[in-house]
């Protein structure tokens, strides 16, 4: 079943042109226009893109106890296939078809690499001291790297 493209609003909103000056302009943007703007700047890293998913999927995608699936340690190709299917609306989802449509192939692949590199383990609750994410003294490891 193909979900109808239900883009309700695509808006270009200007943030800051000059100090203290905010320009708000709204316009419908095509995929080509989005791509054109994206092409002017380095792509956000897999970590930058992936960490913005954390509110729903947990820190570093490591929430294994909720309805939204964990992403930490996910197979790279599985992630790519799913995200592309969401993006195309290949099957009905609750929200992911409305999330995935903004990402380019390269962005999806960068996120897939990022999540595949992380341990497939629940993010430790405060009372947990043994974890792939923690040092023996209970402090956090530097996992996930810099940008």
């Amino acid at each position: 079943m193909k979900i109808k493209n239900q883009l309700l609003k695509t808006a270009l909103v200007a943030c800051l042109a000059l100090p203290g000056l905010v320009i708000a302009a709204e316009a419908k943007l095509s995929d080509a226009e989005v791509n054109e703007i994206n092409a002017q700047f380095p792509m956000p890293s897999g970590k930058m893109l992936g960490d913005s998913c954390a509110a729903c999927h947990g820190t570093l995608g490591a929430e294994f106890n909720e309805g939204m699936p964990p992403l930490a340690g996910m197979d790279r190709q599985h992630f790519i296939d799913l995200m592309k299917a969401f993006r195309q609306g290949d099957f009905p989802t609750i929200v992911m078809h409305d999330v995935a449509y903004v990402y380019t192939d390269a962005e999806i692949e960068a996120m897939a690499d990022y999540f595949a590199s992380l341990p497939a383990e629940q993010w430790p609750a405060p009372n947990i001291t043994e974890s792939a994410f923690l040092n023996p003294d209970g402090t956090i490891k530097q996992i996930g790297g810099a940008q």
């Binding site: 239900q6 309700l8 609003k9 695509t10 808006a11 270009l12 909103v13 200007a14 943030c15 800051l16 100090p19 203290g20 905010v22 320009i23 943007l29 054109e36 703007i37 994206n38 700047f41 380095p42 792509m43 890293s45 897999g46 970590k47 930058m48 893109l49 960490d51 998913c53 954390a54 509110a55 729903c56 820190t59 929430e63 909720e66 939204m68 609750i94 929200v95 409305d98 449509y101 903004v102 390269a106 692949e109 960068a110 690499d113 990022y114 590199s117 992380l118 341990p119 430790p124 609750a125 405060p126 209970g138 402090t139 956090i140 530097q142 996992i143 996930g144 790297g145 810099a146 940008q147």
Partner: protein, 435 residues
């Protein structure tokens, strides 16, 4: 978008940036050797979602930088989920976190005090105690303050007393809940919903929905009135659809009434003694419980420190969230002038952009391109949820905003699972910030 800037083809983009971006991510056991200023001191003002996320993600990115968090309260209570206190489906205890994990797991020095001023030249933050804390980088995430006198006669003293706005979750939430529970049968609840940007755009309507759900069991003849200072709101179609089904919205017997600004809905004056709100059209509405949600502005701290530059909100450099006043100061969260909703998720993702900018500065490199998502799952009841997905793509001096809102549906499965997803989201988000 400037036409003078070169346009690279899609393939060029992937060729130039894709490989580097891939190679730079996912390093397990990242080495700290690259740091030149090992003892750099990052001070964060505000221990809410934005400040806590900054502290946590900064420590995830680097083991040795010194992190200090300045917050006057010993605990933080999440606003997301707090409207469900009103129908008894959530507790404030469950939404409240202390800073022990910040201290122990993330090595954050948490100072329980109020920040009062910034000395930009000396790079010092002055605290309420009179102590000065030196910083290399300062992150200000104090949230908003309220424009109480937008409704004449309303004040901070009223809010702390018998007329809580309850727009920062905590004691005021509990007081409003107690007032609603004590409301006489057939009583009237009136809310003033603000215009301008305020935290969590659908939250006034969510709050009324939770209250209506509770009263449907305990006080079914009560009336709820929303006096609105605007004409449209987020998820309006969803709320009206559900209210029509369950509360006779739009009929003579409606339980919930919504008065738009254009129909005289703006509340302009409070007569506290007579428990009456007066609208722009002069109508007097007497109520048993009054909930005024004041319009927002940047925090007093941000305004006093000059960060707002005489404006209502705080401007910032788009790529890094650096203040335009001083590049060693970062500004995030509900107080900034961004083309983004004022939500906790936005604040948490702005925090990650700030962390990248701080780490890049200390490593002497260009920060990576930001990307900020806001995926909100909201509810009207336990069996009706809806979603909004915003992405904010960096475009030089501005952000490209793309937004999709879920469609109204009568499919009970879809409604229900969206509501379940909202509970999922709330739990996961709390853990993301404080665990």
């Amino acid at each position: 978008m400037s036409s003078s800037q070169s346009m690279l083809s899609r393939r060029d983009l992937i060729k130039r940036f894709g490989a580097a971006a891939v190679a730079g991510t996912g390093l397990f056991g990242f080495s700290n050797q690259a740091w030149s200023s090992k003892s750099a001191h990052i001070v964060i003002v505000g221990g809410g979602i934005g400040g806590a996320a900054t502290a946590k993600y900064l420590r995830l990115a680097h083991g040795k930088v010194r992190i200090t968090l300045v917050e006057p309260n010993p605990e933080y209570t999440f606003c997301p989920g707090s409207n469900e206190v009103f129908n008894g489906h959530e507790t404030l205890e469950n939404l409240t976190f202390n800073y022990d994990t910040m201290r122990q797991r993330y090595g954050v020095n948490v100072i329980q005090d109020k920040a009062v001023a910034i000395d930009y030249a000396k790079r010092q933050l002055r605290l309420g105690s009179g102590e000065n804390v030196s910083y290399d980088k300062l992150v200000v995430s104090t949230g908003p303050d309220f424009i109480y006198d937008a409704v004449e006669g309303y004040s901070a003293a009223h809010a702390a007393g018998d007329l809580p706005h309850a727009w920062k979750a905590g004691a005021q939430t509990a007081k409003l809940k107690a007032q609603l529970d004590a409301m006489p049968q057939g009583g009237v609840f009136v809310m003033s919903s603000p215009d301008g940007a305020y935290r969590c755009p659908p939250a006034p309507y969510e709050r009324v929905s939770m209250i209506a759900d509770q009263l449907s069991r305990t006080n079914p003849t009560a009336k709820l009135i929303i006096l609105d200072s605007k004409n449209r709101y987020t998820f309006q179609e969803h709320y009206e659809h559900y209210w029509t089904e369950r509360y006779g919205f739009g009929t003579e017997n409606e339980v919930i009434s919504w008065v738009a600004e254009k129909d005289g809905g703006r509340a302009v004056k409070l007569d506290a003694r007579n428990k009456t709100l007066i609208t722009a059209s002069g109508e007097k509405i007497k109520a048993d419980v009054i909930n005024i949600i004041p319009p927002h502005k940047a925090s007093k701290f941000a305004i006093d420190a000059g960060l707002a530059q005489g404006q209502r909100w705080v401007d910032f450099e788009a790529k890094t969230f650096k203040s335009l006043v001083d590049p060693n100061v970062y500004v995030i969260g509900d107080m900034v002038n961004a083309p983004m909703s004022k939500t906790g998720m936005i604040a948490s993702n702005q925090a990650k952009v700030v962390v990248e900018s701080i780490v890049a500065d200390l490593e002497g490199r260009e920060p990576g391109t930001p990307f900020i998502a806001n995926n909100c799952v909201a509810i009207i009841s336990d069996d009706y949820g809806m979603t909004i997905a915003d992405t904010h793509r960096f475009a030089g001096d501005r952000y490209l905003v793309q937004q999709r809102i879920s469609e109204v549906t009568d499919n009970p499965y879809v409604r229900h699972i969206r509501a379940d997803l909202a509970k999922n989201w709330q739990r996961t988000f709390r853990k993301e910030i404080f665990h």
